[in-house]
Symmetry: C2
Subunit: 321 residues, 2 copies
């Protein structure tokens, strides 16, 4: 290796695992590592695990320019603090970037994981060609990040981009984990989506989904729906088209408010592929204001499984931070 | 007069009238003028009318620093152009600011009218104390402008802030003029609101609204609903509370996306007063993400009838443009 003259260490801090990558300025992951987060006893064991991972990736002869951390919770990038991520007990406001920087001797940057993913797409991925876009990640939850003129739009307290908690149905929508009604996450978040399909399946007895999930509803995942659609299953395809249509409902509101017309979709459910993107684009175009409609583009994210690591590493290479 | 050492001319360009004001840097209107827009024959007669109004306001001994124009349609403030405002036939992309600047010899600024109103609140009004806020104007339509860290957030093509065309009910909502479904404008825009009340009134025969509108449905306006509520009419009050609740539905989505937590409400329907603001604040707080909820504030705009003139004039005094 050592093909690049600049490397960063990307740290994807999750509730169960911390994933590490030694990443070149071209976005190539040269080495990877995964450690348990040890989340139970406050921030010190977590910081120790981050340092262990960082040390494990540093090689002699490789110049590491910086460390980037993508963290859940409310992150203040300029202060380098993380405020009580969900599922991280005994935190409070922790100056995590400073702790890592001091102990490693390497300049350290930190961002909310959704914003880090958006910067990752901007620096290494589908956002390279666009100065302004909304990143939507479809997974357990529906996350988002806003890039405007090459910079993250963070809002007042760095929590902007919560597109998952914009509602498309305030009157009769499903209840969301956040307490809201009709949030797009309450339709498209993995569990919600799977639950809705389970309810509908009895009316679609010839669907390929049955065989793919071994006739066991407990095995149903978005990936199985995706596979069934690829095999030509009409019901599975209709589920994906419906997801795109609902996504377009929320994107239309977001695009009208922000006047940003490029949407990059990533995350697990984005594995639904072109059927999803095309449906979402069609739905958005048909609902958004006429002046914006011709500009609307819904495209897939380029960063896939390692999006967390690459997003974190991109913080080091982002010149607009 | 001549109490201030700095004056601007604010030009509020409307489809029927152009309103002009000679405005001090403290936001005091010293002189006003109103001319017909003469909209039928393209931009030249409109530009001529603007110059006539400007000339009419200039006095010997008064130093006019600049002219500010608040215009409908898609405005490019850096190029100074206005692109085909609705109801202005035979336009296209007109370099209106340059035309006025060249002929008057006075530096001229132009903004979309909704953004101008937001800058007006920032420089002269309720936004003085806030660096970031969303301005919502409730009138014939529902307009909006976003101020973030003391600057207008314009989006990619200067049309950001269209909060009126964010939907709260994509499934069963009323159809909006924009073609969308369930846009907040389709609930709270004057005509829509009045139509909904007309439908409900037969079930509220003891409402004071009847007397106030002379038992003639054609006379019904938001002002009459407001008056009835002031006189203790319970039905009228419930209409206003319902407006606030619906406004909160859309504000929750907007605040989650932007992480901006101060909302300034202006325009005619805002005459509904504290009942409206309190209901909107309560509704927003109950729906927005828990991390943002304690910060939510819904407050009245300070600029009232002359908001258009003051907003336009504020463009001259805005140092962050």
């Amino acid at each position: 290796m050592v093909k690049s003259d600049k490397y960063a260490i990307g740290v994807d801090l999750g509730g169960t695992f911390i994933k590490f990558g030694l990443v070149s300025s071209e976005g190539v992951i040269e080495k990877k590592l995964k450690l348990k987060t040890n989340v139970e006893n406050g921030h010190e064991p977590v910081a120790a695990a981050i340092l262990e991972g960082v040390t494990g990736l540093i090689e002699s002869g490789v110049k590491v320019t910086g460390i980037g951390i993508g963290s859940p919770g409310t992150v203040n990038p300029s202060k380098g603090t993380v405020d009580t991520p969900p599922n991280f007990p005994n935190w409070g406001v922790v100056p995590l970037a400073k702790i890592i920087e001091k102990k490693s001797g390497i300049e350290t940057f930190i961002e909310n994981d959704a914003n880090a993913a958006a910067i990752g797409e901007l620096i290494f991925g589908a956002g390279k060609e666009y100065k302004s876009f909304i990143l939507v990640t479809l997974g357990t939850g529906v996350g988002g990040g806003i890039i405007f003129k090459g910079k993250v739009f963070r809002g007042e307290f760095s929590t902007a981009g919560e597109i998952g908690h914009m509602s498309i149905n305030q009157f009769n929508g499903p209840k969301c984990n956040c307490g809201g009604i009709g949030c797009i996450e309450a339709y498209l978040g993995n569990k919600h989506l799977v639950a809705a399909v389970k309810k509908e399946l009895p009316a679609h007895t010839s669907s390929k989904i049955y065989e793919l999930m071994d006739y066991n509803f407990d095995n149903l995942t978005p990936q199985i729906i995706s596979k069934a659609a690829e095999q030509g299953d009409q019901y599975a395809k209709s589920v994906i088209i419906d997801c795109g249509e609902k996504l377009g409902m929320v994107l239309a509101s977001a695009c009208n408010l922000l006047d940003i017309s490029t949407i990059i979709v990533g995350g697990g459910v984005a594995g639904f592929g072109s059927v999803l993107y095309e449906s979402a684009e069609k739905s958005t175009k048909s609902r958004v204001l006429g002046s914006i409609s011709p500009r609307i583009k819904v495209i897939p994210a380029k960063l896939k499984n390692d999006a967390g690591i690459l997003g974190a590493a991109s913080l080091v290479f982002d010149k607009n931070k």
